[in-house]
Every structure is written in C-alpha cells, then in structure tokens.
C-alpha cells in the first residue's frame, strides 16, 4: 500500500488536491497543464463571454489529428488508388465510414469555429494592447486552417475534389506576375494531376499541421502571458489609477506603484512559498478561483460536447464521395470548396478584383486591424462604427458564400435552390 502511494506520488509529485497548494501544484508542476494559470478569474471563464470557441477549435484539431493519422493507414496518394482507397474505407474497412465522416465533419467544423472565434475576439475587442500580435497569429492560423481544409479536399480524388481544386487553384492564378507560377508550384504542373495529389498530401499531413501546431503553441503561450482569457466587457473597470504597495513585510520601505489593471495572475507565491507581495483588492480576490477544477471541468465538458457532436453527425451523415475524378468531364457549374465560394462569386464578376485584390485586401486588413484600431477602449459603446464595419464585412462574406453555394447553377447563372435544373450535370 505504501509502495503504491509512493509510486503515485513519484508520478504526480504534488500535495493532495483538497489543499490549495495541491491545486496550484497540479497546474504549476505539470508540463501539459502549466499553460493554464493556477487561478482564473471566474468572470473570464463565463461561457457567454467567449463561447469557448477557441477551445472547440483546438479540440476539433485534436480530433482531426487522431482520425487523420488513422486514415493515413488506409490511403495511397496516387490517382486511381486514392479513389479506390475511399471506396475501401466506405465498404470494407472496419468503422471506415465513421472515421472518414468524423474527419470530414470536424474539418468543416474547424473552419467554421476558427472564423467564429475570430468574430468573438473582434467583438469583445480582445485584440487590443497587449494582444495585438496574437491576433495576427490568429489570422495566420485561420489561413492555415483554410489551407488544411483545401489540401484535404483533393485527397479523395473524386469529381467533387478534382474540380473544386481545379477551380480553387485557378482563382489563385489570377494574381498578376506570380499567380501562374504559384499555381504551378502548388500543382507540380499546369493542371491537377498525380503531382498535385502528392504535393497536396504532403502539405496536408506534414507541412501545414506542423505549422498549425507551432503557431498554436505561440498563440496559447501569449494568451497565458497576457493574463489568460480577456476580461469580459461587462467586467471592465472604470479607467482609474490605483496605487498598491508591494514588497516583503520585513523590508523597511514598501514600494508604492500603480496597480495593474490587466494582470489577472500572480499567485506563484502560493506554489513557490516566496511571496512577491501585491495587494489584491478584495473584489478581485473574490472573483478568482483555482483552475482545478473550475476551468478544467469546463474544458472537459467542452471537449466531450465537441467529440460527441462530431460523433453523432458521423453516425448519421455520410461524407460525400462522387465519381472517380475525370479531367475530361467538367461538371457544370464546377465549384470551389464552400468557404471559397464567396471568392468564386467575386471572381465571376471580375477575375482581378475578385480573385486577387479583394482577398489580398481582406487578409491585409485583418492582419492590420489591431494596428489601425488605436482606440484603447474595449467597451462596445466606444467603438460603434468599428463594430458596424466588421459586421458588414462578416455579413458580406456570408451572403457571397450563400449565393455561391445555393444560388449558382449551370453556367454560373443565378438559379434559386428550389428550381431543379434538368441536365445540369451534362
């Protein structure tokens, strides 16, 4: 019995979780959990503040890595075999359809959630000082997510995949000077073929996931260093300067400094036993709880809710698989993946404006947001027109995607989804 306890203690190396010291040590001494603060502010963890969209996105990414590695065991990135492997997954691999469905739905979910997460961060003004650069990293993570989804889209090698990538890469080639070369580099040729499939596979399973993991580490680290999740706008303190006294009690002259209004951690002293005195206001102290179990149980529920939602979808909805890719048979209309249909819609009006200028400006504007918006206030009433501007941007994107997805028929003609077009596939 003693031995068992000793072994357990040698693994966890912390006090009992019934003590505050134990709760702090659980976070502080654990490599996987130490990205959390030992204590969190209750209000910051409110669901209605963040909707846990960042967590959900991360958990979807974990599902994608797990199912993706399993799928790699059944997949050969070579044209006719790739499609046959899809059929094998569908018909003979044990739980193959479930596996593929989970991967597909989690992928779409991740695109959606990463976008919603960005909207939440914008609306709560959480990209403001000192978090400006973390927003920029977030924009790159959004682009990488789209890249992952886009490269994965080709892998089944069916008509849907083939033509979506053909159309998608054509949009890219409208960029002046470099567009054609970039497309050729990406495809390993002038059209989507064997080389393109291999390159997309390498990007999809090695290059892009590594980049996402690297940037995610930086993204989380910075959130943590900037004091965890941002303060909900309804808890923002009025702008005032408070003076606090810091210093060890034994020392003669305690230091009086301006109180930090952003710092929401600082309880290392509990763990290290070496107090760095900072007087915490009574209100703040009341507002703070240990991450264990307060934050962890919320994250665990979010994880399980995400996993079960994807599982339920995968049980009842099958990922699409069309006919074997046929370069000689163009579907009409040939559509890019849904998240690029807004772009395709723009391209149908003007190749240069819609395919190059608009997306380039969009990405640049997103990156530049924290540096353009220099208004320090995060309160909605102080940033009305900025919120309106962003809302228009989001709605315009959604409307374009909806038009491209549901209202475009053969020849990219405007056809409402309830009208059935005869011979549309010819």
């Amino acid at each position: 019995m003693n031995l068992l306890q000793e072994i357990w203690q040698s693994i966890v190396r912390r006090d009992s979780l019934s003590t505050d010291k134990g709760k702090s040590e659980l976070v502080f001494l654990n490599v996987w959990l130490h990205i959390h603060p030992a204590k969190v502010k209750k209000e910051n963890m409110k669901f209605r503040h963040s909707f846990y969209l960042g967590f959900i996105t991360f958990f979807l990414f974990l599902i994608l890595i797990t199912t993706g590695i399993a799928l790699m065991c059944y997949y050969r990135p070579y044209p006719p075999q790739a499609y046959q492997d899809m059929k094998d997954l569908q018909f003979v691999v044990f739980m193959g359809p479930f596996l593929r469905n989970m991967h597909r739905w989690a992928a779409h979910g991740m695109v959606v959630c990463v976008f919603l997460h960005m909207c939440r961060v914008f609306y709560t003004g959480s990209y403001k000082k000192p978090r400006q650069f973390n927003w920029v990293i977030g924009v790159f993570l959004l682009l990488l997510t789209l890249g992952l989804s886009f490269t994965g889209y080709l892998l089944p090698w069916d008509q849907l995949a083939y033509w979506a990538i053909t159309v998608g890469t054509n949009i890219g080639s409208y960029a002046p000077l470099i567009g054609g070369q970039v497309r050729e580099l990406l495809l390993g040729g002038h059209s989507v073929g064997e080389a393109a499939l291999l390159r997309f596979y390498v990007l999809h399973v090695a290059v892009l996931p590594s980049l996402v993991i690297l940037l995610t580490i930086v993204h989380f680290w910075r959130v943590r260093k900037d004091g965890g999740l941002s303060r909900p706008v309804w808890k923002l303190k009025p702008e005032r300067e408070t003076l606090v006294t810091i210093g060890a009690p034994a020392e003669a002259a305690p230091l009086t400094v301006k109180a930090s209004t952003t710092k929401t951690y600082g309880l290392m002293e509990v763990v290290t036993g070496k107090p760095i005195f900072e007087t915490v206001s009574a209100e703040e102290e009341e507002d703070t709880v240990f991450s264990f179990p307060y934050a962890f149980v919320r994250e665990a529920v979010t994880l399980m809710a995400t996993v079960t939602t994807i599982m339920v979808m995968s049980l009842f909805l099958n990922a699409p698989l069309e006919e074997l890719a046929n370069p000689a048979k163009t579907p009409n209309p040939a559509k890019a993946p849904w998240y690029f249909l807004g772009l395709q819609e723009l391209v149908s009006h003007s190749a240069l404006l819609g395919g190059v200028v608009a997306p380039a400006l969009m990405v640049l504007a997103l990156i530049a947001i924290p540096y353009i918006d220099r208004n320090p206030s995060r309160r909605p009433r102080d940033r009305k027109w900025v919120l309106w501007l962003f809302t228009i941007f989001v709605v315009a994107n959604l409307v374009l995607i909806v038009i491209g997805t549901f209202f475009r028929g053969p020849g990219w003609a405007l056809v409402p989804p309830w009208v059935h077009v005869v011979g549309g596939a010819e």
Partner: protein, 463 residues
Amino acid sequence: MERRLQQLFFALSILALVLIVAAAWQANTPSWKTYQHNFLQLEAQGEPNAVAKAAVLATPPEIHQVMLTGLQRVDRCTTCHLGVEDPTMKDAPEPFRYHANLGSHIPSKFGCTICHGGQGLATDKEAAHGKVAFWPNPLLSNDYIRASCGRCHKEGDVPGVPELTEGRRLFESQGCRGCHKLNGVGGSIGPDLTAEGANHRAPEWLEQHFLTPNAVSAGSAMPNFHFTREQARALTYYMLSLTSEEMGSYYSSVRVIPGPEYGRKLFEEKNCITCHNVGGVGAKTGPDLMGVTTRHSLEWLDEQLVNPELVYPGSSMPAYDLEPNARKALVAYLNSATPADIQLLLAHKNHPLTPEDVGIEAGKADFARFGCAGCHGTELQGGVPNPNAQGGEVPSLLHLSDDYTKDEVIAVIRNGRAPPLDNTAGPTPPLYMPSWKKVLSDEDINRLADFLWSKQEKKKESW
C-alpha cells in the same frame, strides 16, 4: 453549477462511449454478413449430420473478392453471390443461385462487373448494383447484358450476340462517322462515341434515341434514320460495348473469336481466291487449298500466313497482317471449305475488277467508312432533314455532274461548306459539310469523287 458541470461531463463521456459502441455495432453488422449467414444455413441443410451442419455454420464471415488487375477492377460480388460456381445451387434463391453457361468466363478470371456492370468494390446491395448517385455504371438488365461481350470481343462475330455484329455493320454502313468520332476517326457534328458505353446513359434511352432522336434529346441534329426496332437494339448493343477501357493482354487477345464464319469473311475480304482455288474452283496461280489443313500442321499454316517468304523462299504470296485469332479463324474456314461454297463466294464477284473499278470500290468503302452516307444516304439519295437549309434537306448527290465539275466537288470535300440558307434571317441549319482535308488524303478524296461520278444519273434529255 459546479456539480452540474461534473455530472454533464460524465453524462457526455458515457454518451461518447455509447456512440463509439453504436458506430462499432453499425460497422459490425453489414448486410453481407446476413447474406453469408443465410447461405451457410442453406448449405447446412444439405449436410447429413449435426456435426457437419455445425461445422458449416461455424465458417467465419469474410469478404470475398476477385482482384482483376488486367481489367482494372476488384469485384466483391461473390461476398453475397456465394453460389455462383456451385452447381448444387442451381435452384437456390438469389443472391445464391448458380451461374449457368459461364463456359470459359470463370469468375476468378473475369469477375462479374465486366459483363454485368455495377460497383464491384461495394459490399451493400444498393451500392453494389450501382443504383446509387455517382456510380456511372449500374447493373445492366438482362435485355442488354450481352452487349458487354463487345467490350473484349471487339471484332468479328460473337456467337450468340448477332446484335453486336449488326450494330457494327450499321455503324459503318449508315455513315455514323460522318458526325460522330469513334476511336479518333469521324466528324465532330455529334458527340464523340469512343466511351459512350461508360457515359451513364440508360440502354432504354439509347434505344429510343435511335428510333426517334428528337423524342429523348430535344432539338437533336441527328436525323431520323427510320431504323427498325431490331436495328435500334443492335446499335444500342454496340454503343454499350464502347467503354474505351484498357484491357490486359489476356483479355485483348480475344478481340476476335476464331471461327469458320469469320474465317470465311476474311477469305473473301482478303481476296484469297484471286490466286488460290479450292478443289479446282478459283484461280490456279497458287496451290489448291482443298485439304491443306490435313497436309500441314497448324503451326506450319500459321507461319505461312505470318511470313510466307520464310516457309517458301521466293513465294509470291504477300504477308498478311492478321492477328493470331484471325489466322486461326482462316485456318478453321479452310478446314471446312468446299468447292460449292467457293462457287457461292465467286458469284458475288461476277465481273473481274479493273484498276478503275478498284478505285471506285475504295471510294465506295470510304463513302461508308467516313460517314458520308449518314447525311447523303447509302444510295446518295440525300433527303435527311436540315431545317432552314436550301430545300430543307441534305442534297442528293445523284445529279452532281449537272451543276459541278469534278474539281469543284473535290474542293467542297476538302474544305467543307455551310449550306446556303433558305431564309437568311432564320437559324443556322444543324447539319453542314465538314472539311475533310485533315482526315482524308488527296488520294482518298479523288477516289471518293470517282465513286460519286460513277453513280451520276444520265442527264435528262432536253428538247
């Protein structure tokens, strides 16, 4: 709240477990396992004692598949159709019934889908029978299944499938190539038919299209050829057999089925009788072929057809470029050829051919082969409707010499021509004369003109 969340976490964890179990259960109970179980019960009925019955029933379920690299497919049909090769199952209910009359087409060498269509990789009924979205090749109904013979047997007669031979004959004689490309040769007014059989068209659609083109494809430029039902069926068979699939060498070696009928056709086509005779009937330049198959071994005869010089140095017999099965067919015919039959063959060639006639004959062959007959008629009578062209139809070629010189006609064949309009404000007529200079050599075009001139009716006497 905290307690609630913990409960929620456990509830969701249990739900996740249940969902995994549900997915595993779903994966573990495919319909093919039920079929295999039913089949085992059927088999067990025939066993004499309980031990043997139990042994049969204990067979573990497994997917059966035939890997057909030569046909570029994997067929899993026998996962459910378990009795295909078991003659005791000849009265069993489907899907277990024995497949009679397979002959040499054993499933382990041919699989099922090359003839039947459907989705060989699939293991549930709907998907395997191909009656699902995004599978271009559903099961062929029994009415049309024999069309699949033409996928491998691309030339000559296929025993039991006269429709294929007839379809091919109609295709080449009615001038279909005038508008349609097939394996790279033909016009471009209509769609390319090289892979028409892989085009997801229902056989019924094709058949109706041959009977009344406009009924199934509104505004089609294809003229109504007034085919009979049998002819439409024959053409449908031919279309279904055109899938442009690459077949492994084993399968393409049987393009031609060696048989005396095909041998007789070759004997006539290659004009063997201009040198040889059979029992004294025919020419005397070459040796009598009566009983030649008993005088020489099959190998000797085969070599003689491949390279006569090698067998008889200085032989004046030309080397014919015949594929192995065509040579076998010729030998098979020689084995049964009688002087009486040769007499019949000669009756067709009742006048000796002059060099001029040879040119005209070649022109006639080109006229059919390149599809001129499709619009201008097999008898040059014209008459195919062509709305808003002058006269409303494709012109007859029987009175060309009234209005044109031979050189003018050659120029029209070379360069093509849009028909003069009836009403200049009206729509463009669907049919036009294509330019042939890239398809036909000048020699071919001259021979065509020779053929046309040989058919000109005498100018009506004027007074």
